[in-house]
């Protein structure tokens, strides 16, 4: 599994970087989404890959040491990151939209004036 995941993380980062560097606004936005996915997966893989053992404790059970469950901490971090990525994405989209409307420029290379 590990090589596959490493390829996925690398591939998603590469794709997002390429998209962010394009001049089209929509591609930039797509790149941002890919970037957040890539970052989440990177953090997720950092705690190792565990199959079939979600961090749920059966009622009344005592776990042996070490725990056979997946690491819950990165999961908690990523969970909030996913939701925040949505908020930030919305903010970015609207910000870019405002810039586009006020400046009348849709080429990111040319978005340089700060006054309308």
């Amino acid at each position: 599994m590990e090589p596959l995941m490493a390829y996925v993380v690398g591939g998603l980062f590469a794709a997002s970087i390429y998209m962010i560097l394009r001049r089209s606004i929509v591609k930039l936005v797509i790149g941002l989404i890919l970037l957040s996915n890539a970052a989440n997966l990177l953090i997720f893989t950092a705690s190792g890959l565990t199959r079939g053992a979600p961090p749920l404790i059966p009622e009344g059970a005592q776990f042996p040491d070490p725990m056979p469950a997946a690491d819950p901490l990165p999961q908690a971090l990523i969970l909030t990151a996913i939701v925040i990525a949505f908020g930030v994405l919305a903010f970015a989209v609207v910000l870019i939209n405002r810039a586009y409307e006020i400046l009348g420029v849709d080429d990111l290379d040319l978005m340089k004036e700060t006054d309308a």
Binding site: M1, M5, I17, S47, T50, P54, A69, G87, L108
Partner: protein, 938 residues
């Protein structure tokens, strides 16, 4: 306890004037006056014990790791300054009520004033020097607000900026100096520092530390060469000048000298730095004051001169001189505050402060004339006024300086010359305004003001006269207490009596008084000479430096920024790649030895699909919709990976976020440009692809390197304690979110809500006007099937959201996921039945829901305070709910409910606002459609 209350009262009172403003001016004034009066009363109740020589200490730990305690100290010196701060504060509040114009927002003014007052009290009552530095900064900031109060006036803004720049820079130096001082003494508590004077003065770091501390004191007390901010601050409303520039703000610097006198004074660096700067400032500023034509400008330079006098006295380093310094602080506060207020009265009643225009006001303003005459007499140091005694004692001190044995005449001569100019400008103030013939008509018909403005001045002048006649009987005890804590030991012998016999200092006084009058009579010739001199001031130097810094910053910005977003990203990425590659180059790349997880065909299939979907997203050129659908496939496959690798919570979150993200993108397509810019050149594509390949390969390698190494995680702690004794849940991810790391979670929902509010505000004023015919088009837009299915679905999905939310503590689910699912249910109604239809039925604005969510989460975390636990400690509190059953952790549930509401509110604010945009757009535009030549379109 009451010490803390005295300090808190002004800060608490800040809210009152702005709130009471609507009830009228009087209410605002009372709102400022009553907390001040209460604090003053409380302070007076401490008087007997402080005057008896007691030091009242009150201390609480704050940040023990940094040596920061919230320690307060009331000793004689602090008591004297607190009395001046609150007492003169009360007079200024009264005076300002009558002085300020009818349409001035008094609430804001008094709020600033109380903030300043509280900060000043903090400086003089702090036991911990770091705490003192904190309040020191607040005085700089609040004085900026006060000086720039007339914010429409560019001169006022400039003056405020200059004051902030100078005193703020001084504040940094002071802070650094105090840190060094604390390190030398081994404690930041004044009690320790004041007791270790020998250790400090013999330390290697003594001189650098002294210079830093003195920079703080000199900038604040406007000592040469940092004096120029004070005259420029005269654009402040006069009550502010009377308060800040006589009794408080500028006195903070000399307070510091007095406060640290036992620990730092008595060495030759101290003598030459403090005494030298003080005496030079005293003479120089008195000289300049004589040439000022603006009443407040004259008083400003006079203040600088008197501060120089006080600084010099502390600089002499002897106990006797320090006593006189404290005495002059009291006297100067009284007469200078009264004179500033008098200047304000003259300005208020005549419309000008220019001495060249004014004249002959004695007939029109007799009361004001008497008060100004008495105040100026005190300032000039005429016998029978308080200024005389302290000046006389000052002159006596200059005669006996062991460190100046080589040139004993220097200090007495300079001091006498300064006193001479002091007399001259005092005469000028009184004669020029009230007696000489007016040169032109004043803008307003002059007459005495209302009693409200005269009474505060009268009180101050009365103090000057009474102390001048019977100093020992009136000011004696307070002076003894204050000087006692300044000297830090036995008080030397001193006498406050008026008559000491025919002494050398009496002769010097006589020369100063007589010479001052002569100088004034020769003024016409002197002004002529002064006009011929070139003008070179500290202010010019300041502005020159400021200009240089600004142009440097502008040049740098212009060189770095060419306006292309992509260029910045390339630069940033390039830097990141270099920084990321360095460790690889240095240490090489080593794969870990951990055992790999076996792969199976399902995993390979998902992996292959993911690769295809990613490639498709990147290389789709035909349509934006297709690209977005490919993107959502990527998201869905990632959620499958989460399921496969034991992260059900993540899978659920990813899935529901994917839905709202796609909705967001579809809505955004309407507002984003439909025509793509021309494609980049091949060269640029190659450059970007190279960057992307290197970046991707790097991240993949990092991921690989981490995965193949053994894991050692702190998560075992979470797994062990999630159920008992801490969390009380079986879903460890959720327990981490709402309990172990609840503070993170709170911050993160706050970010989401802030982003939502950002979206809301940006789009709020960006509505597009309706175009004719929109309503006709809108009527048949909503498909019947979707409408009829979505409505019953609403209840079902909401119920499911509730279920997911409630079970979250034990099984996958919780506030985040439940909130997202609920948002999907709600937004479906918008899509199916239209904004107007849905909005009518929602009943509540989602912005309020979002705020309520954050508030609920914060409050449920704050509930821990009730049982004296740290913020967000989720305590066991059982509650039985019918049908649901018993809930052990009510606070946890409430916190999660807050997250739920914040997520629903935030997401819905974003989506509904965006769909509003779309609704308001023109639905169909022939011309725009015709322009869409590019295939990259919706």
């Amino acid at each position: 306890m009451s010490v803390l209350l005295i300090l808190m009262l002004p800060f608490v009172g800040i809210l009152l004037p702005p709130l009471l403003q609507r009830q009228g001016r009087l209410a605002a004034t009372l709102g400022a006056g009553i907390p001040t009066l209460l604090a003053f009363g409380l302070l007076m109740s401490l008087g007997p014990s402080v005057l008896a020589g007691e030091v009242l200490l009150a201390s609480r730990e704050w940040v023990p790791a940094m040596g920061l305690t919230a320690g307060l100290r009331v000793d004689g010196l602090g008591f004297l300054f607190a009395t001046m701060t609150l007492g003169i504060g009360l007079l200024v509040i009264t005076y300002a009520h009558f002085y300020m114009k009818k349409d001035d927002p008094l609430g804001r003014f008094y709020a600033y004033l109380l903030l300043f007052m509280g900060a000043m009290l903090g400086i003089v009552l702090s036991e911990n020097v770091l705490l003192m530095a904190l309040f020191w900064e607040i005085t700089s900031l609040s004085s900026f607000l006060l000086i720039g109060y007339s914010s429409h006036d560019s001169e006022a803004r400039r003056g405020a900026r200059m004051a902030l720049a100078i005193t703020g820079l001084g504040g940094f130096c002071l802070f650094a100096g105090l840190v060094v001082l604390g390190q030398i003494a081994g404690s930041y508590e004044l009690s320790v520092i004041l007791a270790s004077g020998d250790l400090i003065t013999s330390h290697d770091w003594y001189v650098p530390m002294l210079v830093l501390v003195l920079l703080g004191a000199f900038t604040k007390s406007a000592q040469f060469p940092f004096h120029f901010w004070l005259p420029n601050a005269m654009k402040a409303p006069t009550p502010v000048s009377a308060y800040l520039h006589s009794a408080t703000m500028v006195k903070a610097g000399v307070f510091l000298l007095a406060r640290l006198h036992p620990a730092l004074a008595g060495t030759s660096p101290w003598f030459f730095l403090v005494g030298g700067v003080g005496i030079a400032t005293m003479f120089f500023a008195a000289y300049v004051a004589f040439y000022r034509h603006d009443l407040k400008g004259l008083l400003a330079y006079s203040t600088i001169s008197h501060l120089g006098l006080i600084t010099a006295l502390f600089g002499f380093g002897t106990a006797g001189a320090a006593v006189v310094g404290v005495f002059h602080i009291m006297n100067h506060a009284a007469f200078k505050a009264s004179l500033f207020m008098t200047a304000g009265i003259i300005d208020h009643q005549t419309g000008t402060r220019d001495i060249r225009i004014l004249g002959g006001l004695r007939k029109a303003m007799p009361f004001t004339m008497v008060l100004a005459l008495l105040g100026s007499a005190a300032m000039a140091g005429i016998p029978l006024f308080n200024g005389f005694i302290s000046k006389e004692l000052f002159l006596k001190e200059t005669l006996d300086l062991p460190l100046m044995a080589g040139a004993p005449w220097v200090f007495p001569v300079v001091a006498t010359a300064g006193a001479l100019f002091s007399m001259a400008y005092s005469v000028r103030l009184v004669h020029g305004v009230f007696f000489k013939d007016p040169t032109e008509k004043t803008p307003k018909e002059a007459r005495d003001p209302s009693m409200g403005m005269l009474v505060p001045v009268g009180i101050l002048v009365a103090i000057c006269v009474i102390v001048g006649i019977a100093a020992e009987q009136t000011a004696g005890p307070l002076l003894a207490a204050a000087a006692g804590s300044t000297v830090g030991g036995e008080l030397p012998y001193y006498s406050l009596s008026l008559w000491h016999g025919f002494t050398l200092e009496l002769l010097m006084s006589a020369i100063a008084i007589g010479g001052g009058v002569v100088l004034y009579l020769q003024r016409a010739r002197l002004y002529e000479i002064a006009d011929r001199w070139p003008q070179l001031t500290g202010q010019m130097a300041f502005e020159k430096v400021q200009g240089l810094i600004l142009s440097f910053a502008e040049g740098l910005t212009a060189r770095l920024e060419n306006g292309s977003l992509q260029r910045y990203i390339v630069l940033l990425l390039g830097m990141a790649l270099v920084a990321g590659a360095l460790p690889f180059l240095e240490h090489g790349f080593v794969t870990g030895t951990a055992e790999l997880t076996p792969t199976n065909p399902v995993a390979i299939a998902v992996w292959a699909l993911l690769v295809v979907a990613t490639l498709a997203t990147v290389f789709t050129h035909r349509s934006r919709i297709t690209a977005i659908i490919c993107l959502s496939v990527v998201g869905l496959l990632i959620s499958i990976i989460f399921v496969y690798l034991s992260a059900p919570d993540l899978a659920l979150t990813q899935l529901s976020v994917e839905v709202v993200t796609i909705l967001l993108l579809l809505l955004a397509l309407f507002v984003l440009p439909k025509v793509a810019p021309p494609e980049s050149s091949t060269l640029r594509k190659i450059r970007d692809a190279t960057l992307a390949a290197i970046g991707g390969a790097g991240m993949g390698l990092i991921s690989w390197a981490v995965m193949t190494r053994p894991q050692d995680s702190i998560s075992d702690y979470y797994l062990e304690n999630a159920t008992y004794p801490v969390g009380g849940g079986t879903n460890v991810v959720n327990v981490i979110l709402v309990d172990f790391r609840g503070f993170d979670t709170l911050g993160e929902v706050a970010v989401l809500v802030l982003a939502a509010f950002g979206v809301y505000t940006m789009l709020r004023y960006a509505r597009h006007t309706h175009v004719e015919g929109v309503d006709d088009m809108a009527s048949d837009r909503y498909p019947v099937v979707l409408v009829s299915v979505s409505r019953p679905l609403l209840a079902l999905i909401l119920l499911m959201a509730l279920y997911i939310f409630l079970r979250g503590h034990y099984l996958p689910g919780g506030g985040f996921i439940g909130g997202l699912v609920a948002s999907v249910a709600l937004i479906l109604q918008y899509l199916a039945s239209g904004i107007d239809w849905a909005k009518e039925r929602m009943g509540v604005s989602f912005r309020y829901v979002a705020v309520a969510g954050v508030l609920l989460a914060t409050l449920s975390g704050g509930a821990a305070f009730l049982v004296e636990q740290p913020f967000l400690t989720m305590t066991l509190l059982g509650l039985k709910i019918p049908l649901v059953g018993e809930i052990d952790y009510v606070m946890t549930l409430l916190f999660d409910l807050g997250i739920f509401l914040a997520v629903v509110g935030g997401t819905m604010t974003i989506l509904s606002q965006l769909s509003h945009m779309q609704e308001d757009r023109e639905p169909f535009d022939e011309e725009a459609r015709a322009k869409e030549t590019d295939p990259w379109k919706p």
